[in-house]
């Protein structure tokens, strides 16, 4: 009987034929950790004299950074560096300040994310890496134990297939796609893996696919898997650290349901305020005055997001009543954005650009976004529940990077179409 991509990856990783509903243990390819070490049992190893299964496959990204109330604070990052030395994790596996970025991005840039493998991330949005044809799992509090054994348990989930046709319209990004799926298919996707198929995928840049998969926790799915097409293979050319073998769904693979979507029918959506499940068309929120705009986080800090925002902002100015902050997702993306002139465009327009990482998405952090009581923000970042970007008496709307840029120019939530030409 035919297998889904999920069943194939889990079969390979567990050494047995897996179908939906089966329990097993999957060997993992890499574990990507963050600098917020307090939400899993980081001390497990030293306390018990246990070693990591393969220290060369452990990565740390310094991405949440600098917020001592929730984590280490910069001065204490040494705790992680010392731990890595004690446990033989190579120095190059730490995406330290100067080569830092979000834990869901840096492993891909550094060739650790390989089609056909099981990818583990400690942080909530790890499913992002399903864009690379991996089975990408967020292990949160379980992460230390995965690091000890080099495998993780699975109860093979049911898969649904989303078949994409048509062409992705200009100005529509990954956020709009996952929000539409969430709105249309709420109640039907929780606990499932979403696998993508169809000719429409080829019209989606890799950054867009990652942003779609990034929406997994909001949807309540387990993860998402994309096929490894030419775009994925080109990205991996010269980067992949090891040989790899992509998986393709069999023609007779068993899906619980198949949903057909024409990408050309997608449009920018808005979520909120203050509730990620409240999703509606852009014109429903258009005209709402904003005090702040944010482009960044693992949902909107990629090159594709910055490129589109730069297109909107080129030759224009941010409204004086709005502060617009941009945080590239990683040092590599920041360099590419600088080379392409996007950073100059942002600065010329009156926006500011901050150091790569989770930035304002993580409780407002030390970003100049930090929302005060009664302020309204339109953001491309992940979360919009109260308090996420500063005051819990501020209001947060989610929208794609082009919508944020257009809103910053007009001083209110606005449609970017007129600025995209």
């Amino acid at each position: 009987m035919g297998q889904t991509m999920t069943e194939k990856i889990l079969s390979r990783a567990s050494g047995k034929t897996v179908k939906a509903g089966d329990f097993g243990w999957a060997k993992v390819h890499v574990v990507s950790l963050i600098d917020s070490i307090h939400f899993y049992d980081f001390e497990f190893f030293d306390r018990n004299g246990v070693e990591v299964w393969d220290p060369t496959r452990i990565l740390f990204s310094f991405d949440h950074l600098m917020y001592p109330q929730f984590g280490l604070g910069v001065a204490k990052l040494k705790i992680i560096r010392d731990w890595c030395e004690r446990h033989h994790v190579p120095k190059e596996n730490i995406f330290d300040i100067g080569r830092h970025g979000i834990s869901h991005q840096t492993p891909a840039e550094d060739g650790w994310v390989l089609p056909g493998t099981v990818y583990i991330g400690a942080d909530t949005q790890a499913a992002t890496l399903g864009a690379f044809n991996t089975f990408a799992l967020a292990t949160l509090g379980e992460t230390a134990y995965v690091m000890a054994t080099g495998d993780t348990w699975f109860l093979a989930p049911k898969c649904v297939r989303v078949n994409l046709t048509g062409e992705l319209p200009r100005g529509v990004l990954g956020k709009d796609i996952y929000m539409r799926l969430m709105k249309d298919l709420g109640g039907k996707l929780e606990g499932r893996v979403i696998e993508f198929s169809g000719p429409g995928i080829a019209t989606m840049p890799l950054d867009v696919r990652m942003a779609v998969a990034n929406g997994t926790p909001h949807i309540g799915a387990l993860t998402m898997v994309f096929p490894a097409d030419r775009i994925v293979l080109d990205y991996l050319e010269g980067r992949a650290r090891e040989p790899f073998e992509p998986v393709e769904a069999d023609a007779d693979a068993q899906y619980e349901a198949v949903y057909e979507y024409d990408l050309s029918t997608f449009e920018p959506l808005i979520s909120g305020p203050d509730d990620p499940t409240r999703i509606g068309p852009l014109n429903g929120a258009a005209g709402t005055k904003v005090d702040a705009g944010y482009i960044g986080s693992c949902s909107s800090g990629r090159l594709e997001d910055l490129a589109l925002a730069a297109k909107v902002l080129k030759g224009r100015k941010v409204d004086p009543s709005v502060r617009l902050v941009v945080t590239p997702i990683s040092t590599e993306v920041m360099k590419l954005a600088a080379d392409a002139g996007y950073l100059s465009t942002f600065l010329e327009a009156g926006a500011t650009v901050t150091s790569p990482g989770c930035g304002a998405c993580f409780y407002g952090n030390q970003s100049p976004i930090h929302l005060e009581d009664g302020q309204t923000c339109i953001t491309g970042s992940v979360e919009n529940w109260p308090g996420r970007m500063g005051s819990n008496k501020a209001h947060i709307y989610l929208g794609n990077a082009a919508v944020v840029a257009a809103s910053a120019v007009e001083g209110r939530i606005a449609d970017p179409a007129k600025y995209l030409g």
Binding site: G21, D22, F23, G24, W25, H38, F39, D41, E43, F44, R47, N48, G49, V50, T124, A138, L140, G141, E142, Y145, A148, T149, W153, L155, P157, G186, G187, E190, G191, R192, T216, P217, G220, A221, L222, T223, E383, W385
Partner: protein, 176 residues
Amino acid sequence: MLLSGRVWKFGDNLRSNYFISGKYDPLGRAGKFAEMATHVLEDVDPTFVTRVRKGDILAVGHAFGTGKHLDGPVNAFKELGISAVLGKSFSAAWERDSINLGLPSLVYEGLVEQLEDGDTLELDTGATVARIVNKGVTVPVNPVPDGILEIVDAGGIAEFTARRLGIVNKPRVAAH
């Protein structure tokens, strides 16, 4: 694993903050699960915490447990003695966290459909029938894979891993 207790029946699409408001997240982060447990369902049924008994079972509908919760609600349920959450489907993060913390959240779609609030359920998770004792009815079910039960029986993934490694997991110094 043998489950035996009063069933508390709930509907579909319940986010984790239906059971405990997000305002108690700081208690969860501080590891104050006993205190957090006193607030379970307080906005919906304030008598719940006084009436729930050790061994009781939650029966929930589709898409249970969406939304951000960290491990607070799971631990609060354990504090109250809830032995299992049986559901038609779960948010993936809820299902995984729950099993990892030693609280079985298990899919039993057909059984949940038949259960009513106040029923007394007897369920051997390895078996192919469940008994709704007060109605004298048996319901066919699919057995839960042994691997899940082993993790839950050990008390969660930390304890299970310690056994695998042949160590005793010394207690953590800091809570959260």
